[in-house]
């Protein structure tokens, strides 16, 4: 049998094909790779500049791709919403810290370190309605309401969610609201801040509303433990 690889060296100690020689140990290569300009993620600026806003067209395109993917992967409306919610969740967790940092950076010039962790429910809700919404959509949410029947349910109302601008829902899926993605972001913020929820969901509320046919309600259901802690804090001052 002719040697198929005559250039191979060093020659194998035996022609026994059952014993495969171990490959020589690879030289250690650091796994951290730098881009060509040698700038890592740690060299980037965390503060927002005027030019860092993304155009609505590119967002809509990406969001469309996201929905198409999850639509193809799932069988029911609730599963699509669930998947969109999961896609938004990690964004919310990270956004909370980023927005707090920007508060420090914006105010450090006037007074020393005034960023505030939301520790009360009303702070958190106002943070979501104001700061978070302004960071995401450049305007505060349209309303913030507490459920009249349940103590642990709050509603954030957006008359015209930007994410739904170019989404048309087919008739057979009329329940689907793709703002479930934003609901996921809200859930991430609540969870990260220590206000665990039983889920945040997005619901259509614009039926019969001529002014805002796309009106969406985000329903936040906080856990009982969160309510109890809130009351204990109130009692303690």
């Amino acid at each position: 049998m002719p040697d198929l690889n005559p250039a191979q060296e060093p020659p194998l100690p035996s022609k026994d094909t059952t014993s495969i020689p171990l490959p020589p140990p690879k030289q250690f290569v650091p796994s951290l790779r730098y881009p060509s300009n040698r700038k890592s993620i740690y060299d980037r600026n965390l503060n927002r500049t005027k030019t860092s806003d993304i155009s609505l067209a590119s967002f809509a395109y990406l969001f469309n791709a996201l929905i198409t993917y999850h639509h193809a992967q799932s069988g029911s409306v609730s599963e699509i919403e669930n998947r969109l919610n999961r896609a938004g969740y990690p964004i919310g967790i990270k956004l909370l810290d980023l927005l707090l940092y920007r508060q420090v950076a914006a105010q450090s010039s006037s007074s020393r370190n005034t960023a505030a962790r939301p520790t009360r429910m009303i702070d958190l809700l106002q943070f979501i309605q104001g700061t978070l919404w302004r960071a995401l959509f450049n305007r505060p949410a349209d309303a913030l309401e507490q459920s009249t029947t349940k103590k642990n349910e709050y509603m954030i109302i957006d008359n015209e969610p930007v994410v739904n601008t170019f989404i048309s829902i087919p008739k057979e899926m009329s329940q689907l609201n793709c703002a479930a993605f934003v609901a996921g972001i809200i859930e991430g913020v609540c969870d990260a801040a220590g206000f665990s929820t039983d889920g945040v969901s997005a619901h259509w509320a614009g039926e019969g509303d001529e002014m805002w046919p796309g009106k969406t309600i985000y329903l936040l259901r906080f856990r009982e433990s969160v309510i109890e802690r809130e009351e204990a804090l109130k009692a303690g001052g």
């Binding site: 951290l32 890592s40 993620i41 740690y42 980037r44 965390l46 990690p90 967790i93 990270k94 909370l96 810290d97 980023l98 927005l99 707090l100 940092y101 420090v104 370190n113 960023a115 505030a116 962790r117 939301p118 520790t119 702070d123 990260a192 801040a193 220590g194 802690r229 804090l233």
Partner: protein, 176 residues
């Protein structure tokens, strides 16, 4: 004067650890913990997490100041919005701490008192110490944010980046 800094995730899981010494007063930046301190530090910081949970709902500030003290060790905490804890343990003279005899108060050591009087940990609740630690924490917070902005980073992942470690070391050199 030695420091032990660790980042604790939301499930009380450690994400990052580093120890270093002071660079002030001619220090060489090397931690002088004794061998047994290696695990005692983790233990002390872990015990301080209970104090953090108590303090975290009392104020809105991210920096919780000094949360716990054990013998000569002082633990300062910085809590991020996402409930991740930056814990800094400082010990002015780690070679003098004996963990075995923790029931008795630490003996006073006049020989080192002279040298450590101007150190940060000599009066851990003083304004200068709090300010220095706050500055240090804010700088780490910035690096931490850049780390979690990585789309591939998920909550409670261990931080392995050598650049992040370098950033923390630089902040330590600058302020502590």
């Amino acid at each position: 004067m030695s420091y032990y800094f660790t980042i604790i995730g939301t499930r009380d899981n450690p994400l990052f650890e580093i120890d270093f010494g002071t660079h002030k007063l001619g220090g060489d930046g090397v931690a002088r913990f004794r061998d047994e301190a290696k695990h005692m530090n983790q233990f002390i910081v872990h015990a301080a997490l209970d104090m953090v949970e108590e303090a975290q709902w009392m104020g809105k500030d991210l920096y919780l100041r000094r949360v716990d003290t054990f013998q000569n060790n002082h633990v300062h905490c910085f809590l991020t919005g996402g409930n991740v804890k930056f814990m800094l343990l400082m010990n002015p003279d780690p070679t003098a701490s004996s963990y075995a005899s923790y029931r008795s108060p630490p003996p006073s050591r006049p020989s080192t008192a002279r040298q450590s009087a101007s150190m940060l940990a000599a009066n851990p609740s003083s304004q200068a110490t709090e300010d220095a630690v706050r500055q240090f924490m804010l700088e780490v917070y910035e690096a931490w944010l850049k780390c979690i902005m990585n789309p591939f980073y998920q909550v409670n992942n261990v931080v392995t980046s050598p650049i992040f470690r370098g950033r923390v070391a630089t902040a330590a050199k600058k302020y502590l």
